[in-house]
Structures are given as C-alpha cells and as structure tokens.
C-alpha cells in the first residue's frame, strides 16, 4: 500500500491560516478535520503536530486563542485569525500562487516549443 504523503514543511501553517480565514474561529480538532476533508483524505495529518504549530503562530501574532464552549458544551480552545495573520495569509497566498504558476509553466514547456 502506498503511504499518504506527509504535509509539506511550511504549507501546514498556510492551510491552518486559510482554514481559519474561511471558517472563522475554530478549535484544534475542527482545523485538523477541515484540512483532512479538503485534501480529500489524501493527506495524513498527525493531528497532534497541529498544536505546537498553533502555539508558534500564536507567538508570531498571526492567530489568537481563547477558551470557549464547543458544540457539545465542553471547554475548548478557539483559535482565530488576527489582522497580522490575515496580512500574512495574503502575502503567502500570493507567493504560493506565483511559485505554483512558475512550476506549472515549466511543466507545460515541450522540447519543440523552445526556439
């Protein structure tokens, strides 16, 4: 059986930020769940690795967190995007798109296209 690819280094942060941008404040499990769903279960997220990352983002000021009540009324920690985080998401999205576009162009080029 082929193993599911691990999340690329650095891209997990981008996914987290985007998830929070789309869904609004979320708790850890919610974020993990969402990432898996969107990836169509192609990615194996060792869900626990999310928590150190969330702490790092919080230290960097991209997300903020506070205690709140979950769907079934238990205490859960909710993360939300800050203004800095939104800006960061924008720049990173742009960078990512640019990189992806360049790579895509490389794949399109065939030998006969070259002058």
């Amino acid at each position: 059986m082929k193993e599911k690819p691990d999340v690329l280094q650095g891209t997990l942060a981008l996914m987290v930020l985007k998830t929070l941008d789309v869904l609004g404040p979320q708790h850890g499990w919610g974020i993990a769940r969402r990432i898996e769903q969107i990836s169509g279960d192609l990615l194996a997220v060792n869900q626990g690795t999310l928590y150190p990352l969330l702490l790092k983002l919080e230290h960097e000021g991209s997300v903020a967190s506070e205690w709140g009540a979950s769907e079934n009324n238990r205490r859960a920690r909710f993360y939300r995007l800050t203004v800095t985080g939104r800006k960061q998401l924008q720049t990173e999205t742009r960078d990512w798109n640019q990189t992806a576009a360049i790579i895509a162009r490389f794949f399109e080029v065939k030998a006969e296209d070259l002058p």
């Binding site: 850890g28 499990w29 769940r33 869900q47 690795t49 928590y51 238990r74 859960a76």
Partner: protein, 904 residues
C-alpha cells in the same frame, strides 16, 4: 519582525518559567473526545473508536515535547540543566575540581597580571588625546657618529613651517629651585616651548596653558604648575592664577594648573612626575645660527591623518632642499638626517622587549596549565566511560554529550579564571611592590574592567579549546565493549592515551623552553652583576643640589668658576666634618654613575688640535665636570699622566682627563698602536668654557659609569674649579646613615647659602641595583614561571605514568605471576616515563633554539645557544621526569598479583 516577536515571547516564557502544559492536556483531551464521537458516529465500537482517535492524534509525549520546546527556549533550558549538572559533578569530585580550578587560577591569574602591566605600558603608553599623532623628532649626524644632536632655532622654525606638523616643541626636563619661600624647595620642572601643551593636546584645569603662537625670544615669565604642587605648596588656592612664584630668584607668573590626572611625557619616573613647566622661546637677542644646535628633546604633533611614514617621506624631502640651500651648514660627510618615531615607542622602547618576553613566558605557563587540565579531564574521561555508555545506550545524541562535557570543562576553566582574577585583585598592592620603579607608567597599572574582560576571554577560550578534545574523545566509545567490561575504564581509550602522551610531551617541551629562557637570563644577569665596574660604589652616597641659574647672568652670584669654588670648597669642608664622612667630592650630574637622567648627559663636539677644523663636523664626546677628589672617592684608577690638583684654577691653563676608551678612539696613532694623548690639546665648546685650548693631562682606566653593559664609552672630564656647573652631585664616602644624611648635608650647605636646596640622597649601591631592576624583574619573573612550568610538567608526567600503571596493572600482575623480575617491572615503567621525557626534551630543544634566538637582544655576555645552559636544563628536566615516574613505578613493582587478578 515575526521572528523577533516569537523569540521575545519564548524568552519571557523561559525566564518566567511559564508552561503551557495544562492547556495542551485539556486541548488534547477535548480533541480525543471530539474524534471519538466522530468515530462512534461512523459506527465503530466504543473501544475501537477511542483507539483510532488516539492513533490519529499521534504520540502524546512527542507532541508535549514539541509543544514545550515551542513554548520556551530549549537551548537555554538545556544549558541550564547542563550547568546544574556540571555543578553537581564538580561537587561530587571536590579534589579533582580543586586541582583543576587552582591550576587554571594560577595560569589565568599570572597571565592577567602581566597583561595588566602591558595594558598600561605598551597598549596605552600616552594618556593624551590622539596619541598616535605625537612623534619624537631626532636629528642625527651618522657621518660623524653623532646621534640626537638636537636642532637649532632656524631648523626648528623650518620644521614648524613645513606643514607636516601642527605644533613642534622643545622640552627640557630638569629641576628648579623654588626660592623666596621659608624653605627653598626643589622640584622636577621642565622648560618647554610655548607649544608644548598644544602638542600634548591637554588643557589646564584652572587658568590656561601657554599660547602656542607666543613669539617671545626667551622666557615670557609664565609657568604652569601641576595639581600636586598646587595642593602642596599653595594650599589649593582657587585664585592662584595670576600670582607669582620665584624660580632661582627669577619672578614668574602662574598662568595655569594642570588637571590632577595629567602626567608629563618622559622616560623616567622623575620626568613623568614633572610639577612645573616654564615657557621659553629658546633663543636670545643674538641672531640664531643654523649650526648652533640646542640639545633638547623635540616632540611634535603631526597634521591629522598624516601617518608617521608619510611624514617621514615629506621630512626627507625637506632635508634634501635644506641641504641644497645651506651647503655650508650641512656638509655631505656629516649626512644630516631627521628621524621621526611615534612618541609612545620612544617611551616604552627599552622595556618593550622585556615585557613581551614576560608575556610570552606567562603565556607558556598558561598553555602548560591548560594542557595539564586537559590531561586531568582525559584521565577522568576513562573513569566516566560507563556513564557515557549508559547515556548513549539510553538514546543521548553524541552532540548532546559533547555539549554537556564541554559545559563541565568550561565551568571549571571559568571558575579557575575568576579565582585567579580575584586573587590578583586582592593581592594587587602587594604584587605591585615587585614591579621595578623604572617601568614607564607604573602608577597607571590597574586591574580594570578591560583586564577582567581579558581574564574571562582567556579562560573561556582556553576552556573551549582544551575542553573540546577531551569531550569529543570521552563521548566517542564503543558501546558494547564498554558496557560488557562493566566500565573498568581501560577500553576504547587508545586514542585518549595517545592524546595524553602528546599532551605530556607538549608540556615537557614548553617547560624546557621556559627553563632555557630563564637560564639564559639568569646567566646574563649574573654576568652583569659580577662585571668589573672599574669604580667602587661601596659606602658612597650621592646627594643632588642645584645652584641658582637665573636668566640674567648679572644676578648670578655663582657665574664664574672662582665665584662658585668659594661656595663649593666651603660646603665640602663642612660636609667632611659630619660624623662618619671620610671623603667628599662634587661633580655635575653627568658624572653621576648610572643614575642620571638622559638630559643630564650632553655630548659635546670635540676638536683636536691639528686634526679637526672648527667648521667641519667634529666627533662628539660625553663630557662631565668633576672636582679633583672625584676619581679617588669613586676609586677610579689613573693610568697615565696626572689627575686634577688644587693648584688648577680658573686662572691656570685649562686641563682635562680622558678615559682609555677616548684615548683609543681619538688618538689611535698612525700605526694603530695608540699614541699618548697626554699633552695633546683639544677644544670642547660648552656654555661655561672659556675659548681656547684645553690640555689633556691624564688618562684613567675605563669604568662602567655610563652603562653596565658597555665599558668602552669615551669620556672626558673637566675640572669643576675651571668650568662651573649648576646641576651638581655631592659624593660622601664613609659610614653614614642614609636616613639622616640628607638633612645633615642640607644644614651644612644652607649654612653657606640658605637659598640652595639639597635633595635626592642615594647610595651608589642602590643606584647600581636599580639600574639592573628591569633586568632583575624580568629574570625573576621568568625564573618563577619556569619553576611553575617545571612543577606542572612534573605533575603531568606523574599523572600520566600513574594512569599507565593503573591501566596495565592486569598485564603487570600476569607478568609477575609468570615470574617476571620486579626490577624488570620497575625498569619497564621508568622506560615509559623516560621515553616521554626524551621526546619532550627533543621537541623542546628545537623550540628553545628558536626562542633563544629571538631573545638575543636581552642577553649579555652569554650566547643564545649557550651549551651549558641547554645541557643543564635538559638534565634538570630529565631528572624531574625520572623522579615523577619513580613513584608510580614503585607502585607497579610492589603490585600483588593475586589481589590484582582477583579484582579484575
């Protein structure tokens, strides 16, 4: 920005000990609960649902570790842990720690002590702004073998107008009689150009300094006083500026007081302690002659941004054009030249070599201490082999172990360094007593922050360098063998023991180098000490006095030799009546053996009748003026002709006595065998000489009155009753009490003339020993360092051989059990020690040859490759090596095979 923010939050979490563990636990519990519910909804049985949820979350412990690492600063946390652990290890082996700390304290403390001396003398020799701009200017006439001939007033003007310098100044350090007060006092004073303080770049604390553009020909009547004199003689009067003061009966006006921190520039401590500066234009009413040079020290401040090299280039061009312009004044055979030296270099020139030697020696001691400690660390490494193996088996990374071991050794080194510094700091007053007074800037030696920084940097660097190799080798072991052997310590240590051998060999080599250096210095010192002086300093005391030297000769009551002789004869007669005094004499200060300052000594052009012409550049000769009894009081031997006698007076023909060196040099004769100079006539120009010829009446044997190291300096002596002198030294031979003699002589002299000060009494024996003080100091220090090095090297070889015996105890026991002779065992161990010593001595001898070649300039009377020193030192080192290996060898010989083999 984001990175910084993250770092600061982590740092604050780390320092506050804030942990997010509780929060993570809750979050993970909630996460599991949510995932389990989801799994249940998907139809899993409850147990399976919980299992899958846990699997999906991942290893809880790893997550917690990651989370914690993100929360704080793991590197710093580990460092703290390492340091805490290192302290525990240190306390667990107090003996070991104590030895290491003491060894490092010795090495770092000694190095720091010498560094503090170098810091004050070599690194910061001039306490003035932009010291690199200040230069000393020296004019030489290499064509006639004359150095530092000084400048004439027109030449000084040329220098000033050359555009190379901001300011140029003459300075003459002498002494002044402050009279007109109740007790005439005598102070070290200087006569300087008005631009002197502009050259130094220091302003007055009170009042002002001289106007550098003052164009007065002679004195303009202004003086500046030091802070010390201001407080001592004037009670720190705040309105001192504008008041007047009498120097040799001339009235001067005080225009400024220098700051308390100001120290004059100069070569001797007396010059640096100058307390009064009088401004002088150095020219008189007669138009200045280009050829009339004034032999004063000349210092200058270069234009900003001009390097001494560039300035020298422009100066050479100036000289070339001057020579073209005034060919009569600068005959080509004299080869007039001017040389610039940074002032700092001229001040420390003579001690630089000694200090660098000391620094080198103490550096070797430090190196040996480090090597010794590294050796100890390696020895301990084998004892800790099992600990390291267990740690590695439990999953410690090698880098982590190295880091921990390095922390341990760094802690030891730094503690050693701090201890050394603390001891130095507490003992600084005591230690400074041993530093010779002739060292420049002695008073500025201090244990400053810079010195502390030096000590810490040295110990950290030493700890990093010498702790790394043992740490590396300790952490590198073969797990299975080490653990299987139950950590008996002898395994995997081949590399370690090879390194230990290298270290011991290095230690032996280094101490051999130090001992050779010490041996050579000792021999030089001894030779100088035992040198035939040519004069007898025992029981002779010299006391200085200065006759008034007013600017207007009409007010000078001691203007002629006849006027002065009345005073001198009466003063000497009275001093002879003092208890214990047997003989007396008087001379100018140039005749003071070995003790006089540089300014007292003035070379004069020597014109020999029939050989030299007035206009050409005549050779220069040291001259001094003495009374007839001088030669007898100092025990100098007459070889030919006669000495001065009572009937030689100002009115009788002028006569002189020369020494053998002068006879050899200036009257070599046609066949080179030497011709009798007695009866020859010479003319030596000086301020107080009458024009006309002087007849040489006698030749005395060479005496080392100028320099202990050089017997053959030509000297010419004149009779003080024919040529008056102002700066005098009185000599007393006999059994006198040095403590009271000064006051007794002062009473007698002032009974003749109450205006005359008497000061600075010293026995010639003291003068002699202080002229050797820098040499003695460096010799004693290097000898001390060499002794320390030998001790450390002995300990090193003892430790290594003991360790070898311990390692080989099993082998030795088997040999003994199989019937080996005990004497063979002894020989076997001794041979190992001797091999180490032989290799170490071989390496050391090569290094010692290089070092002794470098220090040839510090030696006297002994070749840098002196065979007996080298052989003697090697013998001592070998003896110490044998003695140090003998104890462990005996232990090996007395080994009981049964107990040893049982224990294994």
């Amino acid at each position: 920005m984001r990175f910084l923010r993250r770092f600061f939050i982590r740092l604050s979490n780390f320092t506050a000990g804030r942990r997010a563990d509780q929060r993570l636990q809750e979050e993970m519990a909630e996460h599991l609960a949510l995932q389990t519910e989801e799994n249940l909804r998907a139809g899993m049985p409850p147990a399976e649902a919980r299992r899958q949820a846990a699997l999906k979350l991942g290893a809880a412990q790893a997550i917690r570790e990651h989370h914690n690492a993100e929360q704080g600063l793991p590197l710093a946390e580990n460092l703290l842990l390492d340091i805490r652990y290192a302290f525990r290890m240190l306390l667990r082996a107090p003996g070991f720690s104590l030895i290491v700390i003491a060894t490092m304290a010795l090495g770092v403390g000694a190095t720091t002590a010498i560094y503090s001396v170098i810091d004050a003398t070599l690194l910061h020799p001039l306490p003035y702004p932009n010291p690199s701009e200040i230069v000393h200017i020296e004019a030489n006439l290499p064509g006639v073998g004359a150095h530092d001939v000084g400048f004439s007033i027109p030449e000084l003007k040329d220098l000033q107008n050359s555009g190379i310098f901001q300011y140029v100044s003459f300075c003459f350090h002498g002494s002044e009689n402050v009279t007109g007060s109740a007790q005439p006092t005598h102070i070290d004073g200087a006569t300087v150009s008005p631009s002197y303080f502009a050259v130094l770049g220091v302003d007055a604390a009170l009042g002002r300094t001289f106007d550098p553009h003052d164009a007065s020909l002679g004195s303009n009547g202004e003086v500046i006083i030091s802070d010390g004199l201001w407080k001592r003689a004037f009670g720190a009067d705040p309105h001192i500026v504008g008041k007047s003061l009498r120097l040799d009966n001339d009235l001067f006006q005080i225009v400024g007081v220098m700051p308390a921190s100001f120290r004059d520039q100069g070569q001797t401590s007396r010059e640096r302690g100058t307390e009064l500066w009088a401004s002088d234009g150095f020219s008189d009413r007669t138009p200045p002659m280009r050829g009339t040079r004034l032999q004063y020290d000349t210092i200058a401040r270069l234009q900003p941004g001009l390097s001494p090299q560039a300035a020298q280039g422009r100066l050479d061009a100036l000289i070339a054009s001057l020579k073209k312009q005034y060919p009569a004044d600068y005959p080509p055979q004299a080869a007039w030249s001017i040389h610039l030296t940074p002032l700092a270099e001229t001040l420390v020139g003579n001690v630089r070599q000694s200090l660098l030697l000391l620094f080198g020696a103490v550096g070797l001691v430090l190196l040996i201490s480090c090597v010794n400690v590294a050796n100890l660390l390696l020895a301990r490494a084998s004892a800790r082999g099992r600990e390291m193996a267990v740690r590695q088996a439990l999953g410690a990374a090698r880098m982590r172990l190295v880091r921990q071991l390095l922390t341990e050794s760094l802690l030891l080194f730094v503690l050693g360094g701090i201890t050394g510094f603390a001891v130095l700091f507490c003992a600084r007053k005591f230690l400074l007593q041993f530093v010779p007074e002739s060292l420049p800037r002695l008073n500025d030696i201090s244990i400053s922050w810079g010195v502390l920084a030096f000590a810490i940097v040295v110990s950290v660097a030493a700890g990093a360098i010498f702790g790394l190799a043992p740490a590396w080798l300790t952490s590198r072991l073969d797990l299975t063998t080490t653990l299987r052997q139950e950590g008996r310590g002898s395994n995997g240590s081949r590399k370690r023991s090879r390194l230990r051998h290298v270290l011991v060999i290095g230690e032996l080599a280094l101490s051999l180098v130090l001992m050779v250096a010490a041996g050579l210095l000792l021999r030089s010192f001894w030779d100088l000490f035992k040198v035939q002086l040519g004069f007898n300093p025992t029981r002779v005391m010299a006391i200085e006095t200065t006759l008034p030297n007013p600017n207007d000769p009409k007010t000078d009551i001691y203007h002629t030799a006849t006027q002065e002789s009345v005073f001198l004869r009466e003063a000497l007669r009275r001093i002879r009546t003092l208890p214990g005094v047997e003989e007396t004499a008087v001379s100018d200060r140039a005749a003071l053996p070995l003790g006089h300052g540089q300014n007292d000594l003035r070379q004069r052009p020597l014109i020999r009748e029939g050989q030299d012409v007035q206009s050409s550049q005549p050779p220069l000769i040291d001259t001094s003026i003495v009374s007839p009894e001088y030669f007898h009081v100092l025990g100098m031997t007459l070889l030919r002709g006669r000495l001065f006698a009572d009937q030689d007076l100002e009115a009788t023909p002028s006569i002189a006595v020369i020494n053998q060196a002068a006879a050899r040099m200036y009257w070599p004769g046609k066949d080179g065998k030497g011709e009798d100079p007695v009866g020859k006539r010479v003319s030596v120009r000086s301020r107080t000489a009458k024009p006309g010829w002087t007849t040489i009446v006698g030749v005395i044997a060479d005496a080392r009155t100028e320099s202990l190291a050089d017997a053959g300096i030509p000297q010419m002596y004149f009779d003080i009753y024919q040529r008056p002198a102002k700066f005098l030294a009185l000599y007393l031979r006999g059994q006198v009490d040095p403590a009271t003699i000064s006051a007794q002589v002062r009473t007698q002299v002032q009974a003749v003339d109450p205006e005359i000060p008497v000061f600075h009494a010293e026995t010639l024996d003291d003068v002699l020993s202080s002229s050797l003080s820098v040499r003695r100091f460096s010799m004693e220090m290097v000898a001390l360092f060499a002794g320390t090095a030998l001790l450390l090297a002995g300990l090193g070889i003892y430790g290594t051989i003991s360790f070898l015996v311990h390692e080989q105890s099993r082998e030795i026991a088997i040999r003994l059990a199989l019937g080996a002779q005990r004497s063979n065992i002894l020989r076997m161990v001794l041979r190992q020690g001797l091999t180490l010593a032989a290799v170490g001595a071989g390496v050391g001898l090569v290094a010692a040859f290089i070092v002794s070649h470098l220090m040839a300039g510090l030696l006297y009377g002994v070749s840098p490759y002196d065979l007996s020193t080298f052989a003697g030192v090697t013998a001592v080192l070998t003896a110490v090596a044998i003695a140090a290996s003998y104890v462990p060898a005996l232990r090996a010989m007395r080994l009981d095979p049964i107990t040893t083999l049982h224990a294994e």
